[in-house]
């Protein structure tokens, strides 16, 4: 990847090297938080904020952090950012916090931020690192929203249910009911549904890439 090639960084984060669909990282929140599109979206956004902030900080301090202690320092930075987001959200975005609160601490255990810190932010100036964190996070958001949408449509017949809780009353209009309430396939909301949908979507993404004539990037093989 060319240094400072911002467009590549963005495209990598959103599609080419997508955290979930290409690198298969961050599977814990991808399974646990995607019972609805709204939940996936919220979790993705919180992760994006944490990733952007921690990538930026690691890049700022990259010449101060020695290789030997880098992992504890990265975890410290991610954990501190998560706690700041957790407290801030609880205080000032309380409705959102009630929906996502339980899952914010899960971001620490998500290996996607750590992987990007190690592979990218540790070697790049602050701005590209910030961009990488942000767009990897947004790519993660897209992935979680799509997985959530598929599971929600098949599992409970709705799309973006409770979106107004997350985004405000003006988003009431995007809450859709696509199938009658009793038509849902329960398994899709339970953990197996998460694995099945994610697997099929990974296949789908690779088929699209193949059709576009791109090389398939193996999971995690694409280091910077």
């Amino acid at each position: 990847m060319a240094n400072g090639n911002y467009k590549t960084i963005m495209k990598d984060g959103l599609w080419d090297n997508n955290g979930v669909f290409s690198m298969l990282l961050g599977m814990c929140p991808s399974m646990a938080m995607t019972t609805s599109a709204t939940n996936g979206f919220g979790m993705g956004l919180a992760t994006a904020v944490v990733m952007a902030a921690s990538s930026y900080l690691v890049a700022v301090f990259r010449n101060r952090i020695t290789t030997e202690v880098r992992i504890p320092v990265y975890i410290l930075i991610v954990a501190a950012m998560v706690t700041v987001v957790d407290l801030g959200m609880n205080a000032w975005m309380h409705e959102l916090y009630k929906v996502l609160g339980l899952f914010i601490p899960l971001i620490v255990s998500n290996c996607l931020p750590l992987a990007r810190l190690e592979a990218f932010a540790a070697k790049q100036p602050p701005f590209p690192a910030f961009l990488d964190g942000l767009f990897m996070g947004l790519g993660f958001t897209i992935a979680l929203t799509v997985i959530g949408a598929v599971r929600e449509i098949i599992g409970s017949g709705t799309l973006f249910a409770d979106a107004s809780l997350l985004l405000g009353p003006s988003f009431k209009a995007i809450e859709l009911r696509l199938l009658p309430a009793d038509m849902g396939v329960l398994m899709m909301i339970l953990p197996p549904g998460g694995f099945i949908v994610t697997g099929l979507l990974v296949v789908g993404k690779r088929l699209l890439d193949l059709r576009a004539g791109k090389e398939i990037q193996m999971a995690g093989a694409h280091a910077v």
Binding site: I65, T66, V73, L76, I77, A80, T83, V84, N90, S156
Partner: protein, 248 residues
């Protein structure tokens, strides 16, 4: 919450110091354990170099812990009041669903009574008063559902009539058992207005067990657990009626 965060900050700072100290100790004893070390290289000048290096690693880690510990302490300080205010609001909104506004002129969140329920669990009872008279009380009741404990809030007026029941927390299957939540279905509202004799105690069961209340298709254990919790809540009220309603 606040104490927990402060402890976390202290812990982080101490971890930093501890690492720093540990590294120094390790450096200090290292020359004594020289024979174990690799001898292939220029071992004679290695300890000095690595000593300085380890000292540096410890110092870096310590400084980062200090810095971020400080950041957390500051964030905690800034958000503390807001978070506490939100917690009170949450309590208020869950209480207002089971203690209607028109039966009280006090704030039930702050008018509490500590009790112990039949299972020996500590219970906080919230009292609604009008002109000093207790008009209703609300307390938490517990049931054991299909996938774990569930917590409900029950409001009951001074005569023992149910003002409302709401689920606060549960782990039931989404799409099946979660119809006990007020926002997912009207089932839980069925209980408002009922009391110990209405229906008779032996009919406080799901229809499948010969009672008066609907179960859900595919989920009987969940409503059964809710009913059991409400029954125990009603019994708790009957046993403690005088102390709950005397209002001092």
């Amino acid at each position: 919450m606040a104490t927990k965060n402060r402890l976390l900050c202290c812990f982080l700072v101490l971890t930093g110091f501890q690492t720093y100290w540990h590294r120094s100790c390790y450096v200090a004893i290292k020359p004594i354990r020289k024979p174990i070390m690799t001898t292939s290289q220029t071992t004679s000048d290695l300890p000095v170099a690595s000593q300085a290096k380890m000292f540096r690693h410890g110092l870096i880690l310590c400084l980062f812990c200090l810095g971020f510990g400080l950041l957390l302490a500051i964030t905690d300080e800034i958000t503390l009041d807001d978070i506490n205010a939100r917690a009170v609001e949450d309590k208020q909104s869950s209480l207002s669903q089971v203690l209607p506004d028109d039966i009280h002129d006090n704030n039930p969140v702050t008018d509490t009574l500590a009790m112990t329920n039949a299972e020996g669990k500590e219970l906080t009872v919230y009292r609604a008063r009008k002109n000093g008279q207790v008009t209703g009380v609300a307390y938490e009741i517990f049931g054991s559902g299909y996938a774990g404990e569930m917590k409900l809030m029950m409001g009951i007026d001074a005569d023992g009539k149910l003002l409302g029941v709401r689920v606060l927390a549960h782990k039931e299957t989404p799409g099946l058992g979660d119809k006990i939540e007020a926002k997912k279905g009207p089932w839980i509202e069925r209980f408002t207005g009922l009391s110990v004799g209405n229906p008779p105690m032996e009919r406080w069961k799901v229809k499948k067990d010969g009672g008066d209340f609907d179960q859900f298709a595919g989920a009987t254990i969940t409503p059964r657990a809710v009913l059991k919790a409400i029954r125990s809540g009603l019994e708790f009220f009957a046993e403690n009626k005088t102390s709950l309603t005397k209002g001092d």
